[in-house]
Structures are given as C-alpha cells and as structure tokens.
Amino acid sequence: MTKASDYASVMARRPEIMLKSVGIDYSKFESGSIAFDYEKMMKETGYTLEEMQEIQYGVNVGRTPVLELKNLTALARKCAPEGKGARIFIKDEAANPSGSFKARRAANAVYHAKRLGYRGVIAATSGNYGAAVASQAAIAGLKCIIVQECYDSEGKGQPEIIEKARKCEALGAEVVQLTVGPELFYKFLLLLEETGYFNASLYTPFGIGGVETLGYEISTQFRERFGRDPDVVVCTQAGGGNLTGTARGLKKAGAKSKVIGASVDLSGLHMASDRDFNLKSFTTGHTGFGVPFSNWPDRSDVPRSAARPLRYMDRYVTITQGDVFYMTECLATLEGMEKGPAGNTSLAAAFALSQEYDRDALMVVQETEYTGAGKHVQPQLSFARSNGIDVHFGDPKDEVPGKNIVLPSHPSLIKATDVDLDHMRRSLIKTAMKTYGVADPVQKDIEFLAEETMKDADWVKQVIDELK
C-alpha cells in the first residue's frame, strides 16, 4: 500500500522513520520530564575517543596541521593596546579529504551506517557536511543522497551552495536541490522512507563525538609544541556541533582552554524567507543558526541533539559579514593562503579577541575550510552586489544585514560583539518548560538545566521563579 505523501501525513510518520533510519531509541534516555541523560546517550550510542581516532585516521581524516599566522598577529598588534595581541593559530581542517572538519563527523556516521548494514546514507545539509558525507560514503562504497536548500523562487541559487552541490556530485552523491523552506525536512523523510538509508544526521552522538578528536588533537599539538594548551579556542558557531565536539575533546585531554563561539551577525534576516535567502552572504556560521540552536538544541532532525553548545561556551561573540570578508582577504595577502568563509568567521573574531590578551597568550581558530568558485570572497561580494547589497568601506558597526556590507576602513574597526549568554540560558530554560509542559521542574530537571546552561542549581531556580 502506498503511504500518504502530503506534508502532515509524512511529518506524522517522523518518529518511526527516524527510529528506523538512525537506529537509536532515544526514549531510553528520557526521564519523562525536561531532563534526559545526555552523557549516557553519548556513551551508549557513540564511540570512545580512541575508537573514533582509529576510524578517522583509517580514512585519512584528522591529524591536520596547526599553522601560526605571524603576519596576522602582527596586524592585530598594530591595532591593540601596548603589550596586547595574542599569537593567532589556525587548525587547518581544510586538509581533510572533503575540505573541512565535517569529515570528522561524517567519518563516524558513515562508519556506523556501514557497520549496521545500511546500503546508503542521506544527509540534509547545504554545507560542508554534505561534501563530507559524500566523501566518506565514496570511501566506504555506500550510496549517498544530499538534500540541499539551494534556490529562491526565481531559481537563483546561492553560489556557495551550488559549489557544494558540484562537490557532492563530484564525490558520487545524488544531490536533491530544493527552494527555500523548512519543508526540506519533509522531502528528507520521504527519501529516508523510500530508500531505507541511514540518516547521517549532524546531531547524532557519532556526529558530535567525531569532533572530539579535533579538540583532543589541538591540546596534544599545543602541548608538544609549546608545553601547554592554548589559552583560547575560537569556534565558528552554527548548529553547535563544532563547538560541542571540540570542547568535549579538549575536556577529555584535560585542557582548560576558554572556548569562545563566534557567528556572523545576520540579525533581521529570516532564515525561511524566500526574499531574504539571497540577501545574505553567509550560508552557515551565522546567528540565524547559531542563536536558535544554542537557545534550543532540540530543534534538529533527531529527537535529542548531541550538540548542546550552551554547556560548553564560555563566551559567544558576533562579527559582521564585512569583517569576515576583510579578514579573508588579509589571510590571502598576508599569510599567502586562501580559505573559505566558515573558518574565517572565527578568524575575524580571533583577530579582535587577540587584542584583549597579552602577547604570550595562545589563541587558536579551530577550523579552516576549502575555498573555490562560489565560496570565495570575490564571488560572494560580486553576488551581494548583483543582489543590490551596498558594499562599501566604513565602520562595520553600521552594517545592516540584507542591506549593506561594510568592509572596515581600517582593521582596528573589527570588533567582536558579545552576545548576552545569560539571556540565552534563560531562553533555553523557558523553552524547556514550555516544550515539556512542566511548570514546576523537579530536582532532576533543575540539575539537568544547570548542566545545560553551565550554571548552578540556585541560578536555575531563580530563573524558574522569575518565569512563573
């Protein structure tokens, strides 16, 4: 019998499709209230750090170099107060087979899919993760489908996403491209149902656990080279997996480095809006994902996301589109290397943040990504101009996403703007109470919310009282 394929019917079948395609019974970790056992989920359904290293190193993923950006550090010091300007490093994740750190997440997910006997994998992603899953599926001999949100209603595509489609196809995947809208998830469910493939979600324990090797490597590499861990690790923040996995890996190494999340400020642009789709110059690493996925991680394509950034983020800053483009150009002209936008988001933040630290401090930007046609500063700015975005020099604080891109007229104008983390933590608690219909959280919930927000139980209780 053919199953109904209308939107409501397909969405209603979500739990059964998910269970079959991820192979995780999330109900095992639920308490029946707000709390669920996060660490148990990570432990029982994931892999140990050693196992993940073995999986990844076996498919040429990981062990990427750490590069020092001496000229960029010199530029930061020209803008900094006397004696300030931490040394800036990058972890060159573009050296992974698919050109980004996402290879780590995909290596684990694809390994797991193959071990469980799935014939293929599917991922809903317009970004580097698609290329990573395609790359790993190619190595494993599995079939692969990537579902992308790519075009607006006029059929105009985001150049960066079109490039990602090309790369996925080059690596042997089928790419299903859609226009703007959250119903991408609807097509994704239909494809999972039709093919019986594995859902290589970005948010499963294997996906997030896969990034732990990155944090662990950073600690190891810095200890070997400098005899100590980096003082600060800056992570581009979108769905939260990058930051969560890196921070967990650092903790497993025993590192006490500060973890700072950075996103491009796209406030004012609606992520599901057809009109706004091509007015932005960044398709990920921006506040449109970074803020909602921190405030409420369980909005992803699995019942409980393994990416829970507010548990690990010491600080969260935003940076403008103009800042990132400026820094991308600096990387080319001062360091002789071209890298893509995702890592350069945290690099632009690091450039500003380094000026707060003493010169002997070590600051590492934990990823780079590949660059190419469509996903490079020049086509991105060309595309913006062709869409009526006013690109000009000035003070980045005057940038209005969707209207203009202000390239800093001087690098000293690049500033990292702090996001109020307590506000986000309150929002998480509020959403948790609303989602689970719990007006009076029990002790177990309070302890859970304290872990979720990196706060103590008293703080959580106070917020709950305020919300009542």
């Binding site: 093919t195 599901a272 490079h376």
Partner: protein
Amino acid sequence: MVKKGEWVRIHKNILEPEERAPQVPDDTKACPLEMWDKGFLTADAELGREAEIETVTGRHETGTLTETEPYYDHDFGRCIPELLEIDRQVREMVFGGEEK
C-alpha cells in the same frame, strides 16, 4: 529529442503553495516548494516535457526535463576593487613600517 541514457536535469514542484507548512513565512508560502535532481533518462524525452530519470543511487524520479549535460555556472565573480585596497592597506601596516 533527448535520448534515453543521457545525463539530464529535471524539475518539479513537490508542494504547491496551499500545501506548504504552516510555520513558513508569507513570502515563502506564496511559492511552491520546487525540486531539481539529475540522472540518466530512462526513455527518450523532449525538453520542457515530463521525463523520468534514474539517479546515481538508482532511484527513479519524474519531472520536467530542463537541461541536458547540465552546466555548473557558478564562478569567481567580477573583480571587487576594494579587495585590492585592503591588500595595500594591510601590507603597508605590517611590512611598511607604519607607526601606531
């Protein structure tokens, strides 16, 4: 006429405006949810007409035949002169001996 076995691209609407999700913003809701996919034609077909493909994963999809041997037309864009100005500015600052 496009021959069976050729590598092509098809298009179809998978949700009409009235079928779209309730949470979608109004400007998006006014449009259908469209889909593109690529594969080998399973039978001779005409451009602009209904056709069926077999994708690289072996799935069959139908839709309007839009393109044969599809072209990747993304590129490196027009020159952005401001980038050259950034180059000059920061090289001067780092290597030109500018005093702070």
